[in-house]
Symmetry: C2
Subunit: 310 residues, 2 copies
């Protein structure tokens, strides 16, 4: 089942306590596609880059199975560039520089080959840009969307309009509280689901993720990683694994969604083990299966008898 | 199987966004005993109160099955009193006043009836007081201990001495990071387990709890509560449910410990539903079984086939 990812392709400069990498391949669409392609043979990328974007990166994505005809090269400027630094505990991220460059005027063009994609991943972008992409798609089965505090604060009306059009929102816990204006996450989830998305995933970083569907909550653990080298892209990789699993299972039941959260979490737990998207270039199916199995061991509650029988 | 809880009995004044309660029955030993008594017919309380302590509270504990011969009444002063306020999101607690009163000179006397208790719960106290209590006990099977940032900062050597004598430490995530001087919780857990306790439980509030035993990590979810009225005593109630379940199962295997974490989490999820310990006075076995069942539903990962088969 085909997937289209609309988002950013970026040149990232990242500093962590473990090292520094300059102008490496990043961006939400990159991470989504490189994770999803383990599950689906047809992943379309829709994004824009500038004149400075190295052709090696295009070749790398293409050779990893990503369909690149939706990548536009804007001759008027440079590629979107982000520079950030992570502190020692890797939970705090400081943005040192954001150069929007060609992203400023980005108007997505979904290529004909991608218009019938069954699953749509909308990476974090201006909500109006997300709607612009959606309008070019031919009745997808499932629209999955990300957003961030910037759009919650600056363009709330536009975000509200986008939320009405999507099936699944994936955001982090602080964004969920802010979007719902409610400190209790469980209440916040109800508020957000009333805004549009029937399915809500709240990512909590080292504390795992919560999945809210009709009448059911699923709490997924985070993988206990001792060494996190670079958290960049973990959220987008989660979306890629989540969408990828659903495209493979062709099933959007509550059980399938739970499994998709586990696959998303597994892919995210891999990507942070190396700088940038490097870890997504080398995984085997066996490694993914093994990690998913370990997620189960991690949260398995042994059979419990009622108190009276004990 | 008998349990002894050494800790505080307090008069708490609590303000939350939902109301205020003055001089209500509190303290670590109180919560531990009122939770554990659902699982064991023999729960001994060892603590001190002052001249102002109402006899109704003693009667209430006694009528709820707690053995009270270890409660000392110190005629030289008032009962330990704590006053605190919770902010709107209930995650931040501000201590308005702490009157140690008779707790200052507390020297625990474990009554003869309690000396052969198989499970010992050491509530948060000066680590030297915890050791003093331990020295009066007759080779218990399992020693479970709590501590807090105050002792980690002020009496690190004494805390180190106590950690060498215990089997299981139950602390929250910020305390674990501080005790191990390590921001990564998984690494912190290894460091702490090398200090003595073979079993480590890290409580993460609304994010659940982690159990570390030999070669295994268990991630337990938090119950998705929409309405938390008063978080006071949740950690001590966790310990009471955890110890209580183990006393009933008479089993300290890794599987039994996982179940104990679920029972501890279930009891903690109840106590926050009302002010103080009120909710612990009215639970039924069916309610506890049902909540434990719901914990399983909350974290259950459906059977997953390897990627190749999908």
């Amino acid at each position: 089942m085909s997937i289209v990812a609309v988002g950013t392709v970026a040149l990232d400069t990242i500093e962590t306590p473990f090292g520094r990498a300059e102008n490496i391949l990043g961006g939400s669409a990159t991470y989504i596609c490189l994770a999803a392609r383990y599950f689906s043979p047809e992943i379309h990328l829709v994004a824009v880059v500038g004149t400075d974007f190295p052709t090696e990166h295009v070749d790398l994505l293409q050779s990893n199975g990503v369909w690149m005809d939706g990548l536009e090269r804007d001759e008027r400027g440079d590629t979107f560039a982000w520079e950030g630094r992570y502190s020692y505990d890797l939970n705090d991220r400081e943005t040192l520089a954001t150069h929007l460059n060609v992203l400023t005027d980005f108007s997505p063009h979904v290529p004909v080959s991608a218009r019938a994609s069954r699953i749509v991943c909308l990476g974090n972008l201006d909500p109006s840009t997300q709607r612009e992409a959606l309008s070019q798609l031919d009745r997808p089965d499932l629209v999955i969307c990300d957003t961030m505090n910037y759009w919650i604060e600056r363009t709330p009306e536009s975000l509200t309009a986008t939320l009405k059009l999507i099936d699944c929102l994936i955001i982090n816990d602080s964004e969920a509280r802010q979007l719902a204006d409610e400190p209790n996450l469980i209440k916040a989830a109800s508020v957000i689901r009333q805004m549009g998305p029937e399915i809500l995933v709240i990512k909590k970083g080292e504390h795992g993720a919560l999945l809210f569907t009709d009448g059911s909550v699923f709490s997924a653990p985070a993988f206990p990683l001792e060494d996190i080298y670079d958290p960049t892209g973990a959220g987008d990789t989660f979306m890629g694994g989540f969408a990828g699993y659903l495209s493979l299972s062709r099933d959007y039941s509550s059980d399938a969604l739970r499994k998709a959260v586990v696959y998303g979490s597994a892919m995210a737990s891999f990507v942070v083990e190396k700088f940038g998207a490097d870890r997504l270039l080398e995984l085997s199916e066996d490694e993914i299966d093994q990690r998913v199995h370990n997620f189960r061991l991690l949260s398995e509650i042994p059979k419990i008898d009622p108190l009276r029988i004990l």
